[in-house]
């Protein structure tokens, strides 16, 4: 041959490893940190958790003078401190769905499953990575929101509550735990539905559509059923007062964790059985 034929040679790989769970965990961490949606969702979740209590605290101090005694009695410092949790859960849930659904929409799941053909370690890795990331993010967020809102309210000497008061620390940290579990639940939903829009819709249906629908039911039915919904059970983790027709924080938290476990179980079975 007259033409110069460049020889392409693949360099040998000296180290040979194997698939282990720590390896998969690290791989999933690389994936988690290397897409924009992670930074956006986590950033928004963190900021909203703090921003809402701060804004509500300022609004409350500004209007305190003109509030009726009845109104004032209705305000509770923990409601203000944890107002952001209700909003942050949406950001964390969306990211939870995306972490797996985007693998299906982009096709990267095929690369993932050729590297880890046993598949389940991928699900465990995603869940564990995301649980750790969201709890590490949310614990400081709820602590900041608690102490910041208290500091703002303290300037007018209103609605003060001590972190060491019974149930307060549990409620504040319970807010972080709740958001983490929401992320886990959403990730499992994403793995079941395998579609971003569908996953987010399913999550919204369970958390935001189902609870108000219960009010259409006769009062006694609503009272009997609502407390067992995932969102209602879960939110007892950060409720200070035990209202009638609600579960205790421990029972609610356990039930919500049970829902998460059930969703994960379904996701795991489908993950192994379905074609990609």
């Amino acid at each position: 041959m007259s033409a110069v034929t460049p020889t392409v040679k693949l360099p040998r790989l000296d180290v040979t490893g194997r698939v282990t769970f720590p390896h998969v965990l690290l791989s999933e961490w690389t994936k988690l940190r290397s897409v924009r949606s992670t930074k956006w969702s986590l950033g928004v979740g963190f900021l909203l958790t703090i921003a809402f209590p701060v804004i509500f605290a300022f609004a409350t101090t500004a209007h305190w003078g003109s509030m009726s005694p009845h109104d004032r009695a209705d305000r509770h410092p923990l409601d203000i401190a944890l107002a952001g949790v209700n909003v942050a859960q949406l950001a964390i849930a969306v990211l939870g769905v995306l972490l797996i659904s985007a693998e299906y929409s982009t096709g990267s799941i095929r690369s993932t499953f050729t590297a880890v053909p046993k598949r389940l370690p991928v699900l465990w890795g995603k869940l564990l990575d995301y649980a750790v990331v969201s709890i590490v993010l949310m614990v400081p967020a709820v602590l900041i929101s608690f102490f910041a809102s208290q500091a703002i309210l303290d300037r007018h000497h209103i609605l003060q509550i001590s972190f060491s008061q019974p149930g307060v620390a549990r409620a504040v940290l319970g807010g972080a735990l709740y958001v983490m579990l929401v992320g886990i639940f959403a990730l499992a939903i994403g793995a079941i539905v395998r579609n971003t829009a569908g996953g987010i819709a399913a999550f919204a249906a369970i958390f935001f559509v189902l609870p108000p629908l219960m009010f259409v039911l006769p009062q006694s039915w609503n009272n009997a059923i609502s407390q067992y919904l995932p969102s209602e059970a879960g939110r007892q983790l950060f409720a200070l007062n035990h209202a009638p027709h609600t579960l205790t924080p421990l029972a609610g938290g356990l039930l919500f964790a049970g829902y998460c476990a059930a969703a994960i179980l379904i996701a795991a079975v489908l993950l192994v059985r379905r074609d990609v």
């Binding site: 034929t5 460049p6 020889t7 392409v8 040679k9 693949l10 360099p11 040998r12 790989l13 180290v15 040979t16 490893g17 194997r18 698939v19 282990t20 390896h23 998969v24 690290l26 791989s27 999933e28 690389t30 994936k31 290397s34 897409v35 924009r36 949606s37 985007a102 693998e103 982009t106 096709g107 990267s108 799941i109 095929r110 690369s111 993932t112 499953f113 050729t114 590297a115 880890v116 053909p117 046993k118 074609d275 990609v276």
Partner: protein, 306 residues
Amino acid sequence: MIEARELTKDYGEKRAVDGLSFTVQPGIVTGFLGPNGSGKSTTMRLILGLDAPTRGDVTVNGHHYRDHAAPLHEVGALLEARSVHTGRSAYNHLLALAQTHGIPKQRVLELIDLVGLHDVARKRSGQFSLGMGQRLGIAQALLGDPKTVMLDEPVNGLDPEGIHWVRNLLKGLAAEGRTVFVSSHLMSEMALTADHLIVIGRGKLIADTSVDDFVARASQKVVLVRSPDVERLRDALAGADVTFEPAERGALEVHGLTAEQVGAAAAAAGVVLHELTPRQASLEEAFMNLTRDDVEFAAELQEAVA
């Protein structure tokens, strides 16, 4: 080595792969040829365990893909449809895959250089051209220094230089004793790259043959003859395996006889010949003949059933 036995895959009513049995040997490049939609990609997904077969079985290097402790060292695969998160950079995509096997970062950088993606490795891969996407896929396939390399339409979207590069790469990999299995819908490409061919149509095995045999079989026994007396020539040549296709006026394309046989028969019958030309059917034609027969056979079947 890849071994498929009676591999069958149904998607609902549709049978995508139908009783496919073949062996892909190490040390050579094996082309996997078939028209679009003939089941090549499905077969490759079955090999990788991404899809489960309806019936039959396939192993790579002696085990089901799923049972390998370090699959990336066994099989490196480039899948046809993009298999990369569009928001992630090429570097991070490869790094995440490498980490599943504890393969060091250095290897990722090495592969990025090898496929020529150095300048764009940190960009979001969604911005890649088709050719760049293919290069990333090839880097991914080679990441684990695999014993078996399986590439689905690797030259799609590559420029001529890139195509040349892939050809040399594949030959080099085979020369090192690896199993190389490459799909294509282009016969001409396979003729230049492959040593052995597995041809499928409608999910069924049509041919499992060396490229040399395929070429020989394809180009044999088509002869163009020109004669002032085409009618008598036709009678002289008629036989069970002989068919005619009318060429231009005064000429005839004879299938099923060699030039020597046609010449001898014409001489025996006393027919004057003006031209006697053995025709090399192009590989592309040969391939299309093979797969067209299959398609026609299927069409006839459907009519018979209806």
